[in-house]
Symmetry: C2
Subunit: 420 residues, 2 copies
Amino acid sequence: MSSHKLGRGVAVVGAGMSKFGVFREQDSRDLFVDAFLSMQDSVDKGLDPNDIETIFIGNYSSDLFEHQGQIAPIMADWVGLTPRPAARIEDACASGGVALRQGIMAIASGLYDIALVGGVEKMSNLPIADVTDALATAGDTLYETPAGFTFPGFYAAMATAYMHRYGMMPEALMAVAIKSHENGALNAKAQFNASIGDIMASKRARAAQKGRPVPDWADEMAFLHDERANPTIAWPLRLFDCSPVSDGAAAVLLVSEELARRFTDDPLYIIGSGQASDRALHDRSDLTAIGAARKASHDAYAMAGVTPQDIKAAEVHDCFTIAEIIASEDLGFFAPGHGFEAAEEGITARNGPTPINTSGGLKAKGHPVGASGVAQVVEVWAQMRGEAGERQVARDVDLALTHNVGGTGQSCAVHIFERR
Amino acid sequence: MSSHKLGRGVAVVGAGMSKFGVFREQDSRDLFVDAFLSMQDSVDKGLDPNDIETIFIGNYSSDLFEHQGQIAPIMADWVGLTPRPAARIEDACASGGVALRQGIMAIASGLYDIALVGGVEKMSNLPIADVTDALATAGDTLYETPAGFTFPGFYAAMATAYMHRYGMMPEALMAVAIKSHENGALNAKAQFNASIGDIMASKRARAAQKGRPVPDWADEMAFLHDERANPTIAWPLRLFDCSPVSDGAAAVLLVSEELARRFTDDPLYIIGSGQASDRALHDRSDLTAIGAARKASHDAYAMAGVTPQDIKAAEVHDCFTIAEIIASEDLGFFAPGHGFEAAEEGITARNGPTPINTSGGLKAKGHPVGASGVAQVVEVWAQMRGEAGERQVARDVDLALTHNVGGTGQSCAVHIFERR
């Protein structure tokens, strides 16, 4: 099936996002309007919203988070797109990436020329225990959650298996967190717009202000080893290994290849798309890789006719630091068991040979789950067009990739973008 | 946009469903397996499940009904389709019809040749007040449910507005219920596999058995006017005006037109597809029509190049009896304000000139919300191929239509099928 080709090409001609964070006074509607306007601003030659023909919304569970079903037509209404077709796409945390794929197929099908793909999640309304519970339903609620698993536990099991097999030590996870926060510090839309160094300084200042002993961490690693500063959530994962609870939205504008230059002289072309599913974690033989990511990326590379080594920048699904390491192997950037070394050696740093999560990733940018897969495209849009400001990677990004995982890997969508 | 055409044709080559009803011991997985096997049985020349390339699952809220998110890869797993791409599509009660549309676009896009479209809902686990509440989230939970609206209330408001404008009396609604139960009595998969006459007989028998006075209703209308037998839920809607709480699943197999005869010598071709969105009910100027249904059917007719008068049988979204009457107008079968007369005059009866809901409809067949839009195709499959047994309509059904509404009409998907 991976040998099949799209009936016609699809281009990205706009991409934007709301700020990610915790916004008590904003709901999904407000956040999505922010993302839509940001996307509209990004369209070089302007966008008349009336030209949008159809809408796909990635959303994990407005049902549980906001007690609101049928969110897609509401999002369409709030950005003035009634009566266009509006569908919600759900594959847990991969909802955004899978929604992107629906937008691509809608255009390739010939039915539409111009499609809006959005993603949104408003998570912070609920008490944190209810958020954890809502997220846990992305596991298997017959076999996994009754055994006590929540998401930090799932990924802790994967991290432990990985450490056991490959000899990774917790410092590799910490290296990922330090790198992601360094990038997030340069991203004004990030929930944690601060490096670990910034966070240390702020904690020292607060201690001094309150007349408490000022911590004297020798460096960032010392900070991350401090159980008070970085408590264990589910061993070996600590606080700074986990993406936060976030509110946010993102939106991208897809058009048929022929129409692209009506909107911009610098479009991105989607040359590869892959998606796969897998059994729930309890039913898999190997916890050190995500099969759906391997399959989805294999199909995306085959469609694009490129190899992992051709990719100049990637936004991967780092819901936990271990997930970024495993992703870097599933995507073929590094051999199995070598992703952690790459992270420690700075190979995935912003100006390393294989930049990963220049946006700050889910870890620092934030993870409003249904929005994350779409927000990855927003970063690719900025990096490929040279608009990423202080966090712009040095070399020309002519090929980039997004990797969006649902749950523990029951779903994965991978997309490859080309700038010509 | 309605002038756009699919890049290539799409055919239905199999369709099946579980029994609809209340099944305490079955969850979504069991129901979907039943539907899948029923679909597989329907494929004339046989189906190797390994040939299925991708899966779309219509589901309204496994989140709220079963506390299970990310249901699509679980459904794929339980019918042996891991690692195929699996996406859940949600537009409230239109989830199934919108999932069908995704399957069509996936094939028309060139990316796939063979797609499984399923729908499933397991609603009966929760206490009835929680079911009502879960369904109410398909309204607008900022503006409507805080005002006290649940779904019987929404449709009661529409019925009242319709009665006021067009002079309809409650007997027209009762005529729809009588007709739907007559059809459901001939459908072994229906939740209410009984005519109103059957139900009256069974109530009389129970009264006699318990030594209570045996009711002597003169006819079905008298039964439906009896407040004990048919209590008011939200005036003017009574119990028999409302579709039930249901568990069930349905599945259809879509293939590219070129492949159709590999599976059957008698495929159905999907020649029209339309989808539209609308604002929530509180924000509409007219309660007597559903704008999204008018737009979706307009687009579907335009794509198919046919008129409402060409349609030989239709499955429409009768979540309440009033919804069927409004649908029959929105779809252009009758002029505004004349659908209720058509129902009273038997024009929509199984062997009338415009047969509507020969399956029993959502009213008698049952309404497991995410499954309903897909199950409509199962009835169309049977009627068009002359396999509907006792409820087979007399004349040749060469063109048929399905109409699937989400909420009060925030979403609608309409499809037109041709047998050549």
